[in-house]
Symmetry: C2
Subunit: 351 residues, 2 copies
DNA sequence: TTGCGGTGAACAAACGATTGCCCTATGTTA
DNA sequence: TAACATAGGGCAATCGTTTGTTCACCGCAA
């Protein structure tokens, strides 16, 4: 239905290649002004846009990136995606979104389709440690960037934050408040963020001279459900924790629910600290104390790294690390939310 | 880098077309068993996948859909996207995501790129009334489906819910609770949901014999910020409302904030009802009474309608309408959340 | 020997765009 | 006047697949 070069050429009574050169503003093109204006008028009149598929075949580039994540309904990934798109769109790229629900088989399937489509690059935020999918990407020589989670040490382009440091900050905060029995809702040990945040938690305890109690660490995964279940386990202990460091804000949300069902007050009976500072964290009551990381920037920086890789053709395993910052709200310090009252409402999305 | 038909043909000592036919399992192909097995072995060994770009050029289909929405960080659209992807992926399609932030110019730009890419179809959830972009799609003969909002009456494929009915239910609920001064945080009159929900609100008031007070309707748009500002306006009235019907859950969230900053208790001092039942609604405290619509189904149904259109080639302006249902929580009826305690935590996304 | 039908594959033309190279007039210079 | 620039475009290959058509060969019957 849209017009082709051939048709335009026929209408302008020139060869298609000539139309192409005019359309692409070929600098080395010598052409009579009259011919040029005739062609240009035609281009405008028909709103000619080259067929992207044909162009992609010839130029071996599709101007499409892909983002592979567990689940877009998780606010963390939604914010990440916006960052990526905001980094990619100004350069003419559009973005395919693939949800895996954390299932390796789905990740594989998506990556294979993406490779067949010849997407120009992939941003992966659903990576496991020693992920075969990542090795496959390396082997395929598909440009890619890992975000938030990494796979093998230091050999992939990566943007994320210092998870050990973030977790240490969070735990130290709780220690500073006088807590001694501090539980940890831990991520899977198959994921870098899971391991490192647990490591930061342990390090902070050790540094403070608090003996590690294995009972206080329960694997919750990164989702709300798991957080609620793990929290239930912790609250059933003979000597339950008085404070919790949750590997993720969503996990902390699960903990809120579990605490609420038992009639516990936050933070008086149970202090909670999360990780990521998703938009939801500030809307909970009380507000969730959490480790802030610049999610949107993760995305935009990852996109720019990927584009650089695509356009220069060289894969530099550069790692961009942001320093996480502790953000104290009411879930750890009673009354910490008060100064928020009277402030303007935070920016937020359309319908 | 990936293997091509030509290379395989050379290695199997046959013509490329023969390899293609074997790979595609051409039913009418007559071939010696020995040749076939030789080729098949090669296909498996090299994990051959046809170049999607070349295939797209030849077959005039890309197996790519596009979703155009205001903002993926809004939970409504995140859920919608999941529905779409879940409907499209099993049929071999992948999905481009385009955020417009509600800016018509961005919508146009995205749609033009999409057309140049020859995506097989578009799902639009960021439509205005009498949207030129929609007319352009019609004119282009690009398969498309509108979701949630429609543009011109009844002439586009559409999936959504009965907004008048939903708004009526919400307002009647508040009337039934004894409220008389009921405010409305209204969407823009340039968007179908804005108009229709306001109409439902007015109809319910009229039916109950409550005089409409123009002061009680304030345009908030569909986002949190607007909700907070509009709520501030309403609360500054001499005779402020005791109940609010917000056009959207996100708007209601803004109203929560405004109420909280004034020290008002929900629902005792101010009852609030939202619309859409996004996941966040159930996590607010108190839980947000809202009009439930099957967001995920909106997406999966829209995807299936679009695929049907693509595969059959006929555009039937079929409209799928779901009936909205009122979901009562603590923001309108004190204590309505209590029965939730002890229930299992809701399902939710990964990290 | 001629003709015929069936096998098993090769041929070639698309699908649209890009781009290095070639060709033909019309001046220009020696 | 012959050689040569230069301007203004045309030619054709190429990207990787798909698919309608053609072709060579072999065995067999007449």
């Amino acid at each position: 239905m849209p017009v082709t070069l051939k048709e335009l050429a026929a209408r302008a009574n020139v060869h298609p290649s000539t139309v192409s050169r005019v359309a692409n503003n070929d600098p080395g093109l010598r052409i009579a002004t009259t011919t040029r204006t005739r062609i240009e008028a035609l281009l405008r009149e028909t709103e000619y846009r080259p067929n992207g598929v044909a162009r992609g075949l010839k130029l071996r580039t599709t101007l499409v990136l892909a983002v592979v994540i567990p689940d877009i309904t998780n606010p963390f990934f939604a914010a990440l995606f916006r960052g990526i798109e905001d980094g990619a769109t100004p350069r003419g790229y559009q973005v395919l979104l693939c949800n895996t629900d954390g299932i390796p088989e789905r990740q594989r399937a998506h990556l294979q389709s993406l490779a067949a489509r010849r997407v120009d690059g992939v941003i992966l935020a659903s990576t496991f440690l020693k992920d075969p999918a990542v090795r496959w990407l390396r082997h395929q020589r598909t440009p890619y960037v890992l975000v938030n989670r990494f796979s093998d040490d230091g050999i992939d382009p990566f943007v994320g934050s210092d998870d050990v440091m973030g977790a240490t900050l969070a735990t130290q905060h709780l220690i500073g408040l006088g807590h001694v029995r501090i539980g940890h809702l831990a991520g899977q040990p198959t994921v870098s963020t899971g391991i490192l945040r647990r490591k930061g938690y342990s390090a902070a305890l050790a540094e403070a001279g608090i003996a590690a109690d294995p009972e206080l660490v329960v694997e919750s995964g990164f989702i709300e459900e798991g957080g609620a279940q793990a929290m239930d386990r912790l609250l059933s202990l003979n000597d339950p924790p008085t404070a919790i460091f949750a590997v993720t804000d969503m996990t902390a949300v699960g903990a809120y629910g579990a605490a609420r069902r038992r009639g516990l007050r936050i933070p008086e009976d149970l202090a909670i600290v999360g990780y990521n500072d998703i938009p939801l964290a500030g809307r909970l009551i009380p507000g969730l104390t959490t480790v802030h990381v610049p999610i949107h920037e993760f995305g935009s920086v990852a996109a720019r790294m990927l584009l650089e890789q695509i356009e220069t053709g060289v894969l530099t395993p550069r790692r961009v690390m942001f320093s996480p910052q502790l953000l104290v709200r009411g879930s750890s310090v009673a009354g910490a939310d008060e100064h928020l009252a009277g402030r303007p409402a935070p920016r937020s999305p359309a319908e």
